[in-house]
């Protein structure tokens, strides 16, 4: 029986101004699995400025090398610059697979890398398996309603993986050596320039990384109520905050909170949907939650069809009671 050649995998790490995004570990887990299946090895590439802590956080997962491109020109993840450096590294290391965890960072940059390498790409992969002398991939389509089995031809395969589909890997002991990546700023493209980034509310975890996500929908009438009730309950539970598209569209919540087909995909242990009706586009973002609980005034709301626990009620009564009783406990 044929089996694939040993793979040379390159994982692209994601961080937030020097702090590792834990979702990166899903891509590391996937790379480890591929290497275990084929007898290959993997490297992790980290780009940015002052990223020592990111390299440190990734040192014990069994990467052959940690490739670190630490340079002021890479301070912001601009796609033209990042894609060029990543493509150069992929070529220099002879990578046969290039992957990252699906996010707006990787979805912005990796397709650009794929095209530079004349490689095909798959997004939102949930499984990779050797088949004959090649691999098959599972990926989600149609707002998460369809799972496609796909092959990817060519000498380099580029893909992003769903964070929820690969559990964080065990630490492997020995520290991976750090290899510095030369960055020549004069050879980098400069068609894109960073201007600013909105300040984020501090103190709450990101919904893609949190163990508990409390999410609010149309039932909330304004930003103050949303913050007091959804934010308040999230804080009591130590969770992250999310919202439906309806609230973002009406300006009550910022874009970065949106969960769903075109927003974030979350996979917490508990997803608590408050006053969310459950449009299929929203449900696409919470399919991998371990437990879904929902509170909605409308007993016919579609979210009840996917909720492990449903409570019919007005969020303006139920949520204050939840906050009060959970605080006491």
């Amino acid at each position: 029986m044929n089996s694939p050649n040993p793979q040379n995998v390159l994982v692209i790490a994601e961080h937030d101004e020097g702090q590792l995004k834990l979702t990166t570990l899903a891509a590391v887990a996937c790379a480890k699995q591929i290497c275990a299946d084929t007898g290959g090895s993997f490297d992790i590439l980290i780009l940015g400025e002052s990223i020592g802590p990111v390299a440190e956080a990734l040192q014990d997962y069994g990467a052959a090398d940690l490739l670190v491109g630490d340079h002021a020109a890479l301070k912001h993840p601009l796609a033209d610059k990042y894609a060029q450096v990543i493509a150069e590294q992929a070529k220099a290391r002879g990578a046969t697979m290039l992957l990252a965890t699906a996010s707006t960072f990787s979805k912005d940059i990796l397709p650009r890398v794929a095209a530079l390498l004349d490689a095909g790409m798959l997004g939102d992969v949930t499984a990779v398996a050797p088949e004959g002398d090649d691999f098959t991939f599972h990926r989600v389509m149609y707002a998460g309603n369809v799972i496609a089995t796909v092959t990817l031809a060519g000498p380099v395969k580029v893909f992003t993986v769903r964070a929820a589909a690969f559990s964080a890997p065990e630490k492997a002991g020995a520290g991976s050596p750090i290899v510095s990546v030369e960055v020549g700023p004069e050879s980098l493209p400069h068609q894109m320039e960073f201007v600013s980034r909105e300040e984020r509310p501090a103190g709450r975890p990101d919904s893609t990384e949190a163990r508990i996500v409390v999410s609010g929908g149309r039932a909330f009438k304004n930003a103050e109520d949303f913050e007091k009730l959804v934010g308040g309950l999230a804080d009591v539970l130590g969770g992250a905050v999310g919202s439906s598209r309806a609230l973002v569209d009406s300006g009550i919540t910022p874009n970065s909170l949106q969960i769903g087909q075109t927003g974030k995909v979350v996979a917490p242990e508990l997803y608590l949907g408050l006053g969310i009706s459950g449009a299929i586009q929203h449900l696409a973002g919470i399919k991998d939650a371990k437990i879904v609980a929902a509170v909605n005034q409308d007993p016919e709301a579609p979210i009840f069809e996917v909720a492990d626990y449903g409570l019919v009620g007005d969020v303006y009564q139920v949520v204050p009671e939840l906050i009060q009783k959970l605080k006491k406990a």
């Binding site: 707006t104 369809v146 496609a148 609980a293 009783k325």
Partner: protein, 253 residues
């Protein structure tokens, strides 16, 4: 100024997708097709920029079977000036689409390509980024606000991008590829007058071969299957019962 807007023909977002029994594709019987919603947002943005700037030619492009003419006519009914259909009946992937768009770009020399950030059928979110790489030009993905030219920087676009971490503003040198996110605008409705006008606007047809592109896809879909759904659980009657279930049964709080 010339703006190129690719339009993909996709099943209407409100359609419930059914799969063929053998998993070879979706069952298109009785399915209503429309312009990919993100592409409609991209086109609306081009139209609004024209309203502001004045002399802007808007070219819409679709790649696929003859039926894509419907979406091109709809795009011209919204206000695009002319249309180009690249007839192709076999499967394509994002890289092949990007290569075809690259050939069209080189022929048409637009100042800007505005496209949807992803198509709602395959949810790939790649073609725009790949096109920018093939052309060696800048990109701004997932944009929710666009400021074009004017002031001190007539050759630049200022774009507000929706990222996981929040809103980010970047400046990109034109020509560039911009991909539209939901909040960029709300596409206008097509009027009867628009539909009448669209019938008289030019719709050219070509093929990948005529454009000199080999569109052989790298990705091949072997099979589609319905994703396992979640099942409804139990209804609880009180807040106390909900807390008790989450704590003692599910053990998640």
């Amino acid at each position: 100024m010339k703006i190129l807007v690719p339009l993909k023909r996709v099943p209407d977002p409100d359609t419930k997708i059914r799969l063929k029994a053998d998993g070879s594709g979706i069952d298109a019987d009785g399915v209503k097709f429309s312009i990919n919603p993100f592409d409609a947002i991209a086109l609306e943005e081009a139209l609004q920029q024209r309203d502001q700037i004045g002399a802007v030619e808007i070219l819409v492009v679709s790649i696929g079977p003859a039926d894509c003419q419907e979406q091109l006519r709809a795009g011209m009914a919204m206000g695009a000036d002319r249309a180009l259909l690249v007839r192709h009946d076999a499967e394509l992937d994002s890289l092949a689409i990007a290569k075809i768009l690259e050939a069209i770009y080189r022929r048409e020399q637009p100042d800007l390509v505005l496209m949807g950030k992803q198509a709602i059928d395959d949810d790939s979110n790649q073609a725009g980024q790949m096109l920018a790489a093939l052309l060696g030009i800048g990109q701004a993905t997932f944009i929710s606000k666009l400021g074009l030219g004017g002031g001190e920087n007539p050759s630049k676009a200022t774009c507000c991008r929706e990222t996981d971490a929040g809103l980010e503003t970047i400046e990109v040198t034109l020509p560039a590829i911009l991909t539209a996110d939901l909040r960029l605008n709300e596409p206008r409705y097509v009027t009867a007058l628009g539909i009448m006008k669209a019938k008289k606007k030019p719709l050219e047809e070509t093929t990948a071969g005529e454009l000199g592109v080999d569109p052989a896809p790298r990705t091949r879909v072997l099979k589609l299957a319905a994703a396992p759904g979640r099942k409804a659980g139990v209804r609880v009657k009180t807040v106390d019962e909900l807390i008790q279930k989450l704590r003692d049964e599910a053990r998640v709080i």
